[in-house]
């Protein structure tokens, strides 16, 4: 499967990833309309995280052993067998936040704008390249096959 890999050495903390993620997940997919007119306002599913001068973009890691999927009490979370993407089915979510409690990366948020449901990266599965990756001005996000990375 593909995963998005953050390179903190080159991340400049500009938050373009957040903006373009929100736009991609908005109704209009238009940057002006999405932020000015849409209600609920789209929220980004990627976040720039920072510690002093170091920053990088963090989104769902689509874990091999996804705790959120295992812990979800309704069945709203599942890992797609073919693509490996951890998918959140908003219709089945009751906002119990169990997924957020067990995500050791802190990559799941509460979407209170829309409905009280969990919000997470869907890897822009409908695009060739996820919006955060294609809009990162410094190539601090790259899309790679997960066999290109060493396991911890």
């Amino acid at each position: 499967m593909k995963i998005i890999y953050p390179k903190e050495e080159v991340c400049i903390g500009c938050r373009y990833c957040e903006i373009y993620c929100a736009v991609e997940h908005s109704k209009s997919k238009d940057i002006i309309k999405a932020f000015k007119l849409e209600n609920p306002r789209p929220i980004p599913k990627v976040r720039m995280v920072q510690n002093g001068p170091v920053s990088f973009a963090l989104q769902c890691r689509h874990c091999e052993e996804p705790d959120c999927v295992y812990a979800c009490i309704t069945g709203a979370m599942h890992k797609d067998k073919e693509t490996g993407v951890v998918i959140h089915d908003a219709k089945r979510c009751i906002g119990c936040w169990t997924c957020m409690m067990v995500c050791t990366k802190g990559a799941i948020e509460r979407d209170e704008e829309m409905r009280k449901i969990a919000s997470k990266c869907d890897l822009c599965i409908h695009l060739d390249v996820p919006a955060c990756v294609s809009h990162c001005p410094n190539e601090a996000l790259v899309l790679i096959e997960d066999n290109q990375i060493k396991k911890p």
Binding site: I3, Y5, V49, F56, I73, C96, T98, M100, K105, G106
Partner: protein, 437 residues
């Protein structure tokens, strides 16, 4: 005749007792390794696996059974599983490798998983057999309660634990008055500390729920016009709490009755090793029925929570199919939303003495509360209420992986605390990768 009957004995490579999360997890685990081996599932609940925690949503909202299915209705069919629903296993016979059902049938197995979950604790209270006394553990329970609620004025709930409080939330939300009777000095005491319990209690009282703590239910008395139907609960000391129905929610214990003469080792729950094997060959156990290793307390004990049931069920399934997986253990963890207020806790939340330290941030006006319980720079527990729940899993991960937090302790309470603040090795593990190969 006998031989003819014997030919009809069903036989499965994998037989699973139970029809809930641990069962589904085991099926998924088995199918990761063995795509074809025959699987049979026997469950006395006549429903496709559903989300048990959602029975409070069922009570409160206009939702149907279909909205509660834990996996799509076609799940068993797709995974080539024979599901025998509405059937109860009354006996397990490990010598013959057979289980016996209430309808007289028996089923042979090569490998057996016991994932029979929990059964309600029946408190020693007079009058529990009266009409209008319900439990709150299953969809059937919720259906009975829902059907009886129409036209009722007042409900009494015995037990202020998580499911009792979820029932109270549901019932007050549909406009029926509720009293909760709790024996301990506060509701949810095992799950939260005094401050968090205080916030939650105030919230319930604000919504109109009567919360009676330090109150022991002694008797369910009858109605004036009908002694055989519940009319309320008499407390120790003589106080009467009237109610048209009574819901008993005093907890669950492992459902092990049918294992009595099987030779399977049972302590408080079924005793399992790290691979989810019981003491007998080819018999595994997982979920609420089984004890788990509590990595914080260092003991084996039942921990009746959904995530544990999944983790264990999956590992049991993988191992039944020839895998070699171990469950590293777990600790108590709960996340519950009350009237839109998110609350969470994990691990040790009421430390016994001051060998633990606590980092606390409490903003009463916002219902914001975060407490992190530590000893020797390792986090043993966490409590979050309100917006403090955001990214709580990072803290939970530090508990689970026993990470030394000395170098970033001062950041643990920060709103912006993220994995960027973790030591490099932990951070990299969280990002999932060490480096590009």
């Amino acid at each position: 005749m006998l031989s003819e009957r014997m030919f009809q004995v069903k036989k499965y490579k994998y037989l699973i007792i139970g029809g809930s999360v641990a069962t589904v997890a085991a099926v998924e685990g088995i199918r990761e390794i063995d795509g074809d081996g025959s699987i049979g599932v026997v469950s006395y609940e006549p429903y496709h696996a559903y989300s048990r925690p959602m029975i409070s949503n069922y009570l409160m909202d206009d939702i149907e059974l279909e909205d509660m299915y834990y996996r799509p209705l076609k799940f068993y069919e797709k995974e080539k599983v024979d599901s025998l629903l509405g059937k109860t296993v009354v006996k397990v016979s490990p010598d013959e490798k057979k289980v016996f059902l209430d309808d007289g049938d028996c089923i042979s197995y090569e490998r057996l998983l016991v994932s029979s979950g929990g059964r309600p604790i029946i408190p020693r209270i007079n009058g529990v057999d009266k009409k209008g006394v319900y439990r709150f553990l299953s969809l059937d329970n919720a259906r009975e309660i829902k059907a009886s609620l129409k036209g009722l004025e007042r409900v009494v709930i015995i037990g202020g634990g998580l499911s009792g409080m979820k029932a109270a939330e549901a019932i007050i939300s549909i406009g029926v008055r509720v009293s909760v009777i709790e024996m301990m000095e506060r509701v949810l005491k095992p799950v939260y500390d005094e401050t968090a319990c205080g916030i939650i209690k105030a919230l319930f009282e604000d919504k109109g729920v009567d919360v009676l703590t330090s109150s022991q239910a002694e008797e369910i008395y009858g109605r004036k016009d009908d002694e055989s139907s519940a009319g309320g609960v008499m407390l120790k000391g003589g106080k009467k709490v009237d109610g048209d129905i009574v819901i008993m929610s005093v907890g669950v214990i492992p459902q092990v009755d049918f294992l009595k003469d099987s030779g399977i080792e049972i302590n408080r729950g079924v005793v399992v090793d790290k691979s989810m094997k019981t003491n007998l060959p080819d018999i595994y156990a997982a979920g609420d029925v089984a004890e788990a290793y509590d990595i914080l307390l260092g003991i084996n004990r039942p921990i009746p929570i959904w995530p544990k049931a999944y983790y264990e069920g999956r590992i049991a399934g993988l191992n039944m199919a020839g895998g070699n997986e171990e469950f590293s253990g777990i600790f108590a963890m709960n996340s519950a939303d009350f009237f839109g207020l998110p609350t969470m806790s994990a691990g040790i939340v009421n430390p016994e003495d001051d060998s633990w330290e606590s980092l606390v941030e409490f903003k009463p006006e916002e219902n914001y509360y975060k407490r992190i319980v530590l000893k020797n720079n390792k986090i043993d527990g966490m409590i979050m209420v309100g917006d403090a729940v955001d990214r709580a899993g990072i803290i939970l991960g530090l508990i689970k992986d026993r990470i030394d937090v000395k170098d970033f302790k001062d950041k643990l309470l920060d709103k912006g605390f993220s994995i960027a603040d973790l030591p490099a090795s932990v951070k990299r593990a969280r990002i999932r990768d060490v480096a590009l190969a």
